[in-house]
């Protein structure tokens, strides 16, 4: 897995709450059997008009959000289906982090499995970021953020210089953070406890597979 340590990049601001995984990656694109190549289907029904051209009204299609690597959204991001195709599509599109006031549980843990950082900030902090993104958008320039996972800090580097600091801290489960910082293989880590797993199985009468109860 690609480690996540410090990341600086352009923000794409998607001013919606309850963005569900059916929107992030619509079901017609779930038939692929690979993990890659989902980026061009990201937000498909919002991103493209019926003739297949980009919808200029959709946020991610704005020129100042081109090349964005950090997605900003409102509360309950990633609700709905468990499809890991959602973080795969976000990652394949180029996102490394999503910032929102809250995330749906399954989406949240799926992010960590894919080197993508979900950052939970307060409603107020997220609101301020949206305002800053809108101000940048009016001037036709991108909003840049930097995210430091180790210290748990999000900031706007340019704002520091301009005397309008934005600096907020966020919390991440220490184990998940460690795995992400070091890009660890979660399965290998768990298999390091194989003796404990086997002991649990023995104490629960699980050894040889049970005889099938039907032909």
């Amino acid at each position: 897995m690609q480690p996540f340590t410090i990341h600086a990049g352009v923000v794409a601001a998607l001013d919606r709450a309850n963005v569900d995984t059916d929107q992030i990656i619509p079901k017609q694109f779930l038939k692929r059997i690979e993990r890659t190549g989902f980026g061009r289907f990201l937000f498909f029904d919002w991103r493209f008009l019926s003739d297949g051209t980009p919808d200029p009204r959709f946020d991610l299609n704005k020129p100042e959000m081109a090349g964005a690597t950090i997605l900003l959204a409102r509360r309950n991001f990633g609700c709905g289906s468990s499809r890991e195709h959602a973080p795969w599509a976000l990652a394949d599109y180029g996102f490394r982090a999503v910032i929102a006031p809250s995330f749906a549980d399954i989406f949240h843990s799926n992010c960590f499995q894919n080197g993508m950082l979900p950052v939970t900030l307060s409603e107020d902090a997220v609101d301020e970021l949206f305002q800053r993104a809108a101000a940048c958008s009016r001037e036709g320039r991108p909003l840049r953020l930097s995210i430091d996972l180790e210290s748990g800090v999000v900031q706007v580097p340019e704002a520091e210089a301009a005397g309008r600091p934005f600096r907020h801290t966020f919390a991440t489960d220490p184990f998940r953070r460690d795995c992400l910082l070091r890009g660890l293989d979660a399965i290998a880590l768990s298999l390091a406890h194989a003796d404990r797993i086997a002991a649990w199985e023995r104490s629960h009468g699980i050894g040889a597979p049970p005889a099938p109860s039907r032909p």
Binding site: K31, D45, N76, S81, S82, R83, A104, I106, R176, I197
Partner: protein, 469 residues
């Protein structure tokens, strides 16, 4: 004396393999259910790493999401769907996993066949790469959806890294009125909780109303826990649960000994939940969703709300967006909304009792001429049972299509989809934009409400169905 524990505490404590300092606990997984959409990349991951499936005999697979619901003898027309199903077949063969294939009499929606075959049992931990795994909690299991990387993790280790979720008791007291179903109950609860009210929690449904529900009704309730943000929903096992499981294919052979164990699972008196909410069953009316998430719901005797009056700015914004997508105007009585399509099916409402309820409503009637309606049983067994009872004839005579088992128009990965702008009364669980087809408009309702809408061509209050019809 040990501290009183909840059902969740008991299952959790039993299944923690280890909790090394600085790591998340490893939770043992008793049953792993697999379907074709969220598993190919997991098996591929195993192959690349040279790993096997730790307990193939605890792993069960079935194709359901992509499968055609028309003639099964024909090859699947959609080549990519066919490839995904072929991939599942090859993976199950290679890794020794039991597959209920398309030609298997027991194939069906994964959350329908698990309980039906007795694979789902009280006190178990059960996972599946599917958010509606919460369904299995109806039998007193801790069951939740996981992503594909976690599917691979469970295949390889039979465990999962999990932080212990918080506990939320939803206590529902009293009785549901005539014509009000488990579906109306859960839609009402989601409407009160919001789509993220249960995030981070496992819901335990308790109270006299829940105790009085039959097994399949309990599944409908637990199924939709995820729509309130909760990863799992559960109901303490009792005589209803044991009677349901007795004699099922995969039920324990020493059933009485199992019951003796299961009887110790319900929460101890005085066990504390981190949050408790209490509801009155008698106040619930048949529900219809008006928007694009399941919490945007109102009683059938109500009107489409005017979201511009909502106090919360996000609810206002998402309500306005939802009405535009749904092609509705605030203030419209729900019973004035015409429907084009009716879908009776999905892991929420495709079991035999759901079909009986729908058949009772349509018996002796015809589907309105403007409506196209279909019934998709949840499994091969449900289909055969319905046919043995003559329910297929009731539906066919009324003008419904009668299909093979699968997810079908719940998410429309197979050819069963809505056309843009089509409005559907659906017994499924999600009314998200585009869920049943791009531009399609979904209203979630109970099987009886869906059946009545098929006949009337608009939503009707099933409580007055017999006067009306």
């Amino acid at each position: 004396m040990p501290a009183p524990r909840t059902l969740l505490d008991k299952i959790w404590d039993e299944h923690v393999v280890c909790a090394p300092p600085g790591e998340l606990p490893l939770l043992y997984i008793d049953r792993h259910l697999v379907h074709e959409v969220t598993s190919p990349q997991a098996f591929e991951g195993l192959r690349i790493a040279g790993r096997g499936v730790r307990r193939p005999e605890a792993t069960f697979a079935t194709p359901d999401h992509n499968v055609p619901t028309t003639d099964r003898r024909l090859p699947i027309a959609d080549l990519i769907s066919r490839q995904q199903i072929d991939t599942l077949r090859a993976n199950c063969r290679e890794f020794g996993v039991r597959l209920f294939d398309l030609d298997d009499a027991d194939q069906g929606i994964v959350h329908v066949i698990g309980p039906e075959l007795g694979i789902t049992q009280p006190g178990m931990t059960i996972v599946c790469g599917d958010s509606h795994t919460a369904t299995h909690g109806a039998l007193g299991a801790l069951a939740f959806g996981i992503g594909t990387s976690e599917v691979e993790h469970v295949l390889a280790t039979q465990t999962l890294r999990q932080a212990k979720p918080r506990s939320l008791e939803l206590r529902v007291e009293g009785r549901l009125g005539p014509g009000v179903t488990a579906k109306d109950l859960i839609l009402h609860l989601i409407g009160r909780l919001s789509t993220e009210g249960g995030t981070g929690f496992v819901i335990e449904y308790t109270g006299s109303c829940i105790r009085a529900l039959r097994m399949e009704e309990r599944m409908t309730v637990c199924n939709m826990s995820i729509e309130a943000g909760a990863r799992a929903g559960m109901i303490a096992p009792d005589a209803v649960t044991f009677d349901y499981l007795r004699g099922r294919d995969h039920a324990p052979r020493d059933f009485d000994a199992a019951v003796a164990r299961w009887e110790r699972l319900p929460s101890d008196p005085g066990a504390a939940y981190e949050r408790v909410e209490v509801f009155d069953a008698a106040a619930i009316v048949p529900q219809v969703t008006w928007g694009t998430n399941p919490a945007q719901v109102v009683g059938v005797d109500g009107r489409v709300p005017d979201p511009t009056t909502f106090a919360d700015p996000f609810e206002r914004d998402s309500g306005v967006r939802a009405l535009a997508y749904m092609g509705l105007t605030g203030g419209t009585p729900i019973v004035d909304i015409p429907v084009d399509r009716v879908f009776i099916g999905s892991c929420t409402n495709s079991r035999i009792e759901d079909l009986r309820e729908a058949a009772r409503t349509v018996r002796g009637h015809r589907v309105a001429s403007r409506v196209r309606a279909m019934v998709v049983p949840g499994s091969g067994r449900v289909k055969r049972q319905a046919e043995a009872e003559g329910l297929d004839r009731v539906f066919l005579d009324a003008g419904f299509e009668w299909r093979e088992a699968g997810c079908s128009m719940c998410l429309g990965m197979n050819p069963d989809t809505l056309a843009p702008g089509e409005r559907c009364a659906s017994t499924s669980n999600r009314n998200f934009e585009g869920r049943q087809g791009k531009g399609g408009r979904t209203h979630l309702v109970s099987p009886a409400m869906a059946a009545a809408a098929a006949v009337a061509g608009t939503f009707v209050d099933v409580r007055q169905w017999h006067d009306h019809a």
